[in-house]
Assembly symmetry: C2
Homo-oligomer: 224 residues x 2
């Protein structure tokens, strides 16, 4: 069954479930899914049941939600589409990297497999999107090991930003404004485990910046 046989909303659920476990191992819940999809939990319950009937995920009532290999394959396909489209919008149409998420969110359901292939070719088979997320190749792919969220990093000299979650456009705009983008190096000044604040300095700038909980959750770094 090709991914295009699924409804847009089924594609969104699969992508969301897959993405939730890409960078952290905690399984996704109905409530979180409802928030991200912008629907009520009851709607999610219904939808999950249908996806289960199609063999795309496993789910016992009140239990955890997990993708089957088939569901995972569809999800990876959608993620690949999304990230290739984001890259395309930035490189070919001059979008800012903080503007592409919503556009790609819609386009990923509309473009044909053929168009995705042509975009991939045109871009020279890129491996990372504008936020630093890895672009799955036509099959599956492993995710970046060794990256941690900024809020969990130790204050120990310089780290490199490898990805910035594209979930919140307003936040992306803020990061863009202060020059915090993928591949940039920064120094963690203070890390206070039981408060919100992480203080950082971007390489080559004088000024310190305080990032709140949400912000320091959205930024992933590696040592070096």
């Amino acid at each position: 069954m090709p991914v295009s046989d699924l409804t847009n909303s089924a594609q969104d659920y699969l992508k969301l479930i897959w993405t939730a476990t890409e960078w952290s191992a905690t399984p996704i819940t109905v409530t979180v899914l409802a928030e991200r999809m912008g629907v009520r939990p009851s709607t999610v319950s219904d939808s999950i049941k249908k996806l289960k009937d199609q063999g795309l995920l496993t789910h016992a009532p009140y239990g955890t939600i997990e993708l089957t290999p088939a569901g995972s394959a569809h999800a990876v396909d959608m993620v690949r589409r999304h990230r290739l489209l984001e890259t395309f919008l930035v490189q070919v149409l001059g979008y800012g990297w903080d503007e592409v998420h919503d556009e790609a969110e819609v386009l990923e359901h509309a473009v044909s497999d053929t168009m995705i292939e042509r975009i991939d070719q045109r871009l020279g088979h890129p491996t990372r999107d504008p936020h630093g997320d890895p672009i799955p190749s036509a099959d599956g792919q492993p995710h970046r090991p060794g990256a941690i969220q900024l809020c969990h990093a130790e204050p120990e000299g310089e780290v490199t930003v490898v990805r910035i979650s594209d979930a919140d456009p307003a936040m992306l705009r803020y990061f863009s404004d202060i020059g915090l983008t993928p591949d940039v190096k920064l120094t963690i000044q203070k890390q206070r485990p039981y408060t919100d604040a992480t203080t950082i300095t971007l390489s080559g700038q004088q000024k310190n910046v305080d990032l709140g909980q949400a912000a320091s959750n959205a930024v992933w770094v590696t040592n070096s």
Copy 2:
């Protein structure tokens, strides 16, 4: 009300009604609309009623269907989207001019106004799409005067192809194969009013080609 407030199917109806009168003056019927939309006539009746309630067209039962200025504006917007997208697919992603219709048909509902503007800019504000159809500028626009269908043209020396209807992908592929594309010059050898055949010679080629009814209906030419 922006065009994006309409459902996809409403956008399709408006575009189809507008397009039907772009090159010929005969008003569109419910049956034709049903065929082009791939739905039953009863569905068209229902939909027309809704569009009428929204003030986008006028229609007395069993009467003709005509767009209001508001409906026409939305329709032109969709046509602009479609033709800009076709041009983009050909020029930027290397599609053949005979492959773009179906892709554009889907994308026109998915891309944002912003993306359309960026595409327009990127292409240098083109005025004709790959099939020779005029691309409406951001407001309305008049259509090409003086063009006639090949099947109505007199055999009188050389004419220039100005447009090829993009309704039938298989036919487009055929035209592409024999080198019959927009801007090409050709000579009409025979024109037999009460039969199917039109015989033409493409400039610079030896061979004559016979075009059937449907084919010679789809090609529009001007003298000179």
